[in-house]
């Protein structure tokens, strides 16, 4: 086909895709809804949820995981648009890191050393590394689907950031159930669960986000 003909054809095609931002706004709630459904089928909210909310430890889990999700979503929203620098917004990752570091410093500074290891090992680490990725999986799927409307020049990186966002949200959801509250536990086992989703996002993203 001649380039002139191609251009005439392209100009006649007036169907426009949804912008990636809109697609995320539409699909992310759907992914979250599926995750909440999975939660309600397989898990329950910890019985001491309200009293624990008054301690620093449970709010800390939400602060770390949700700020991670927000930071990752901000980076995603820029990675899907060509020619837009995402470096400057990546600074947002300092928030979850800082909050978690603060929590760990509090544990190491305020609690006796013999409680550190039991706190890190926790009681239900195996459940955590399964359920964090499981809660995050529908969210990751929704994000990747929405991001296909975008044009990430680095599909693997964009997929990894989607995995981080999904991991953060999945972990926040699991935190409603999980009774292991030490920031050392959060760093280790939530970290592993979120890292698994991030790796999955990178691998899948490389395939499905190329354009």
């Amino acid at each position: 086909m001649r380039t002139d003909d191609l251009i005439r054809g392209l100009a006649a095609d007036d169907k426009r895709e949804t912008s990636p931002g809109w697609a995320v706004a539409l699909l992310l709630p759907a992914g979250l809804a599926v995750a909440v459904l999975l939660f309600s089928l397989m898990l329950r909210i910890r019985p001491d949820f309200l009293p624990m909310l008054a301690t620093p430890w449970l709010p800390l889990k939400f602060a770390v995981t949700l700020s991670l999700a927000v930071a990752a979503l901000l980076v995603v929203s820029r990675l899907v648009r060509p020619g837009v620098r995402s470096g400057p917004v990546a600074i947002g990752f300092l928030v979850p890191c800082g909050v978690l570091a603060l929590g760990i410093a509090a544990v190491l500074g305020l609690t006796p050393p013999e409680t550190w290891m039991p706190g890190l090992v926790g009681h239900y680490a195996r459940y955590c590394v399964v359920f964090v990725p499981l809660m995050g999986a529908p969210i990751l799927a929704a994000l990747l689907l929405a991001m296909r409307k975008g044009a990430p020049t680095r599909p693997g990186l964009a997929g990894a950031c989607a995995g981080l966002a999904a991991g953060g949200l999945g972990a926040a959801l699991y935190a409603f159930h999980c009774t292991d509250d030490s920031p050392l536990f959060v760093l280790t086992w939530y970290g592993i669960g979120i890292a698994a989703l991030t790796a999955a996002g990178a691998l899948i993203g490389r395939r499905v986000l190329a354009w």
Binding site: L6, I7, D14, K15, T18, R81, G83, K149, W211
Partner: protein, 182 residues
């Protein structure tokens, strides 16, 4: 250079707002600029120049299918150069050659754009031939024969809406085939 990008940005804004004539003007202005740039890059990398028009057409398809990722408030140049660079790298990489192209190289595309409006892309033709028959027929009627959507609808006994869908899907699957195959 900045003036040119401003003019392109304004045409793209009109195009996104539904002005098909402005959009076609933009694509016609971009084609020679892309062609000059791609030829320079290919020559610089010691790659065969006959692939130039394949890359130009792939890039025009990507610009078209991803135009909604440009925000009208953003500068147009970086968006365009990133898309063009990506398509050139993809094309060369698909053939198993590794290359690195700094983004700055694309910022200076042109100034002396040569005009070859008759240029053909063999690769696009090859993939076009594998599209579903209806999409291929609509693409040919609208692009090659220059029929309007309404005329194409009458000619093929379809509704204008169905023609629009077939046209869009045709371009989308053409781009997907160019990206993945070979």
């Amino acid at each position: 250079m900045i003036d040119r990008e401003e003019a392109w940005a304004s045409l793209m804004r009109s195009g996104l707002a539904g002005d098909q004539a402005a959009y076609q003007t933009l694509l016609r202005a971009l084609a020679p600029a892309l062609r000059a740039s791609v030829r320079r890059r290919l020559a610089g990398m010691g790659q065969p120049l006959e692939e130039c028009e394949d890359i130009v057409q792939e890039t025009l398809l990507a610009i078209h299918l991803k135009r909604h990722t440009w925000r009208t408030s953003d500068p147009f140049g970086p968006w365009l150069f990133t898309v063009a660079r990506n398509k050139l790298i993809d094309h060369v990489r698909k053939r198993g050659r590794r290359i690195e192209i700094p983004i700055e190289d694309f910022a200076d595309i042109l100034p002396a754009a040569e005009e070859r409006p008759g240029a053909d892309s063999a690769e696009v033709d090859r993939h076009l031939a594998q599209l579903p028959a209806k999409q291929r027929a609509i693409l040919k009627t609208v692009a090659v024969d220059g029929a309007s959507v309404g005329d194409a609808a009458r000619q093929h006994g379809m509704t204008p809406g169905a023609v629009r869908v077939a046209l869009h899907r045709g371009f989308a699957s053409l781009a997907a085939r160019l990206r993945t195959e070979e």
